[in-house]
Symmetry: C2
Subunit: 181 residues, 2 copies
DNA sequence: GTCTATAATTCGATAGAC
DNA sequence: GTCTATCGAATTATAGAC
């Protein structure tokens, strides 16, 4: 079959995200990605140069955080956790970052970049003091729950409904974002 | 050099824990472990059969949770976070579990086992309702902070002192353990 | 744009000498 | 108890034909 370059690239990227999300960086092979995309492994090299280049493209990521300055202050925690639950299930790029970031330095650097350029500034506009620490606390609880639910699959975390997660985590995030010292 | 079997096994295990903790399951090679231990790769096979066997031995783990029934109820959160901060820095088995559990199914199963047999029962004796969910919430916050601090190395999390971590996380864990609904 | 062939490594694992 | 030699499989990556 003969396709356009953009079609092929898109097919490869979709397959790569699935593989990276499911297997992590080292276990996700170019051959497997190519097989999933229904093309030859050589095409992956042609379009992305090498495995690092493929990963860099597959890990492009926008948190798409809402404008938190328009949210009532007492509902910040709930808004943030709702956003991330939905963001987590929309596609698997967040899962790519988490799965690969734990064993691959380049991927960890990518997560830090997302944190530094997207999450921290947004939080910084909300709290006057300790913004960086607050952003980290928020990230730790969100990533920790994602880890237990989607990666490690702790039975109680998997069984919990989205609303239950929100009920428990919203007050935690609210405190991290708005409490003094 | 000629050593006793126990000496050699101990040297291999120590090296294996370091490698698994730093690289995860697939990137930690038997050859690298053997080089670190200053012995031949064949010795690893001799004593542990295969890579899975080596991992199983390296991932033997006891949370060593204190008897929480003897702790004043209002200090439960602080006690738990203090224990885990110390446990995390005592050796690197917890880091082994986290690094490997994200990409290796056997390792993930091992973490779930530690959770189910060691953490959940202890929490279960404290709260009458929703014990499993409470244990998961505690695990999510503790693992999430460990992830940001020791694995992903978010600068604000790395710079935070132990006491700051305790001040922020203790109230969170306290609420997860003792709050109603 | 697609694929074949293959080079160059690397890894887990085995057999066997000393 | 320790090591050499090596097999067989898998991987990234390259060169080049069609």
């Amino acid at each position: 079959m003969r396709r356009s370059a953009t079609e092929t690239k898109a097919a490869i990227l979709a397959a790569a995200r699935q593989r990276f999300a499911a297997d992590g960086y080292e276990k996700a092979t170019i051959r497997a990605v190519a097989a999933d995309a229904g093309i030859d492994p050589a095409m992956v090299m042609r379009y992305f140069g090498n495995k690092e280049g493929l990963f860099a493209s597959a890990a492009e990521f926008d948190l798409r955080l809402p404008d938190l300055s328009r949210v009532p202050r007492e509902r910040l925690g709930e808004t943030v956790i709702r956003h991330f639950l939905q963001r987590w299930q929309a596609d698997d790029v967040l899962q790519v970052l988490l799965r690969t970031g734990v064993t691959n330095d380049a991927a960890a650097a990518r997560i830090r970049e997302v944190f530094t350029t997207q999450l921290a500034p947004t939080m910084g506009r909300l709290a006057k003091d300790g913004a960086a620490a607050r952003a980290t606390l928020v990230a730790s609880q969100i990533l920790g729950m994602a880890l237990c639910r989607y990666i490690l699959k702790f039975p109680p975390a998997v069984d919990m409904s989205d609303e239950e997660v929100i009920e428990w985590l919203a007050p935690t995030l609210q405190r991290y974002l708005t409490d003094s010292g």
